[in-house]
């Protein structure tokens, strides 16, 4: 079983978005970074499949030099190898997909390609799908359930009113959502092993963007001035009164 998982390095934000002076990025001076949440579940799922069935998990990222941290995080979860497409610039979804396709080709043949449904920061919802077209593979998105056996993948998507199930032959591309599993916390030996592994780093040139970021903007607060219904349990009658007026009671 050979599985390639794509991950992206994203900042862990607090309660407030602060931009750099040039409005091109979030001010990350005090922020930590992590693997985008959907993708963390993707790595965990891939590792579980390979733990059960044997094989190899390769983790792949397109990002700055520091993104090596996220590759090592992935290897601490159990990924076997890591490929780092190194670029300091921000790439749009179309360009990202193109670079990933090329890197993944060097890993073919493979059985499964795992993406996050959308990245926590840019939220473009398309990289996994574009890569599938680039490689001529079927794709199912937004998975909350995945079972791989006998050269096929049984995929579950949450939809209003229940779950939709897809059944596709491998190799295939899937995009997953947080909730697919609860990722493990890496153990100390796992981290030490991961830190000793070599990472295959390759420089990449960003093509001209087709969806070109001009600037970022922090949306105005709605200017909400919350109406204080009271302090402590004494506020209960006022709360129920409000509920009645809203018609939810």
């Amino acid at each position: 079983m050979k599985i390639v998982v794509a991950v992206k390095r994203v900042p862990i934000t607090g309660g407030k978005m602060v931009l750099t002076d040039d409005e091109q990025a979030i001010q990350t001076r005090h922020l930590g970074f992590t693997i985008s949440p959907h993708e963390e579940c993707g790595v965990e799922e891939a590792v579980r499949i390979v733990e059960a069935q044997g094989g190899e998990v390769v983790v792949l990222t397109l990002g700055p030099a520091e993104a090596e941290e996220q590759l090592r995080e992935s290897m601490a979860l159990g990924a076997d190898r890591a490929i780092h497409l190194v670029s300091d610039e921000e790439w749009d979804a179309q360009a990202t997909a193109g670079a990933l396709v090329e890197a993944i080709r060097s890993e073919e043949p493979l059985d499964l390609l795992v993406f996050g449904n959308e990245s926590a920061d840019a939220g473009n919802y398309q990289v996994g799908i574009r890569v599938a077209y680039g490689l001529g593979l079927p794709v199912v998105t937004g998975l909350k359930g995945l079972a791989v056996a006998d050269g096929r993948a049984r995929c579950e998507q949450e939809v209003p009113g229940g779950r939709d199930v897809y059944d596709v032959p491998l190799p295939a591309v899937v995009t997953v959502k947080e909730g697919l599993n609860l990722p493990r916390y890496p153990s100390v030996p796992a981290k030490l092993r991961a830190n000793r592994k070599a990472v295959d780093a390759r420089a990449v040139e960003r093509p001209a963007p087709t969806l070109e970021k001009l600037r970022l903007v922090v949306p105005e607060g709605q200017g909400k001035q919350a109406e204080i219904l009271g302090n402590g349990p004494d506020a209960a009658p006022a709360v129920v009164d409000m509920m009645q007026k809203l018609g939810v009671v």
Binding site: T13, G14, G15, K16, M17, P37, D92, Q94, A120, A122, G123, Y125, Q126, I129, R130, A132, P138, V139, T141, G142, Q157, V159, P160, G161, G162, D164, V165, Y166, D167, K177, E178, G179, L182, T210, L211, K213, L214, R215, L216, V217, P219, Q222, K224, A226, E227, I228, L229, N231, G232, P233, D234, A235, A236, V239, V240, M243, Q244, L246, V248, V249
Partner: protein
């Protein structure tokens, strides 16, 4: 401009897509029937002549339009809130940050950001299509939910949600109690699911469920941006928190300051009292 809009139903997300489409030009609307097969539905859309293609900001809307963009090798801007010629304003970080971007293509592909602007008053004439699926990947089976009659988070009219302030898995008993009284659903923040106090299916947030109830009650939730991204669709938000400066209050319509472990049961008691009279 000729604009084609994909609609799913007469709900808010589709009406918002319609509203966005109508700002761009003459709009025709299409709806697909039959088994969901995104690549096939996309092929149908891709084969039509349009200058701009707009879809709803739902899972399927985003998926189908991404397929179209991949098939036609066009850029695709998801969760757009405004279009100005070649420039768009779209959402990042679940809507807590915006991006202004330029689309370098003649033909535009957008999905509209949910709850970002007023939906159209009504649907225009909608063409119903049942496309040829060919060998496209499609839904094989539909599973009904095993909720034991509980209200689903995505559909609930009222959501009672707990965060770090609830402090334990047992602490959610009072949250469940209030949710039951209101015939609503229980939600929680990502801190809670990471701690293992509630399953991920209860998680409201950017990477959890995005909810749009009439009333969202946030108990002991500080208001991190990724959580706000999940509940900003609520019509009204009541925040209950011991810290009067918690970020959540900047997003709230109503506030109660104090210890949720006292306040939430008091509200439940008051509700029971109101019902008896």
């Amino acid at each position: 401009m000729n604009v084609l809009v994909l609609v799913e139903d007469d709900g808010d997300l589709s009406l918002q897509a319609v509203a966005l489409a109508q700002t761009l030009g003459t709009t025709t609307a299409v709806r697909f029937d039959g088994t969901y097969a995104p690549a096939a539905w996309a092929r149908d859309l891709a084969g039509r002549g349009w200058d701009a293609l707009v879809g709803p900001g739902s899972d399927r809307g985003n998926e189908v339009l991404a397929h179209v963009a991949a098939q036609l090798d066009l850029p695709f801007a998801a969760n757009v809130i405004e279009v100005r010629g070649d420039e768009v304003t779209r959402q990042r970080w679940g809507g807590t940050l915006l991006e202004e971007a330029r689309v370098h293509a003649e033909r535009k592909v957008f999905t509209s950001a949910p709850f970002a602007f007023a939906p159209a008053a009504e649907l225009p004439h909608v063409e119903s299509v049942t496309p040829e699926l060919g060998d496209a990947v499609r839904v094989a089976e539909h599973l009904a939910p095993d909720t034991g009659g509980k209200v689903s988070l995505a559909d609930a009219k009222v959501v009672v949600s707990g965060g770090r302030g609830v402090a334990s898995s047992e602490g959610f008993a009072i949250i469940e109690e209030l949710a039951a009284l209101l015939e609503g659903a229980v939600g929680c923040s990502r801190v809670v699911t990471s701690a293992g106090w509630r399953p991920h299916t209860d998680q409201v947030g950017q990477t959890g469920t995005k909810v749009s109830p009439d009333l969202y009650i946030a108990c002991g939730i500080s208001g991190a941006t990724q959580h706000i991204a999940g509940c900003k669709g609520a019509k009204k938000l009541l925040a209950i928190n011991a810290d009067p400066e918690a970020t959540i209050f900047a997003h709230a319509d109503y506030a109660v300051i104090g210890d949720l472990h006292e306040i939430v049961p008091a509200i439940s008691a008051e509700l029971r009292k109101a019902r008896r009279t």
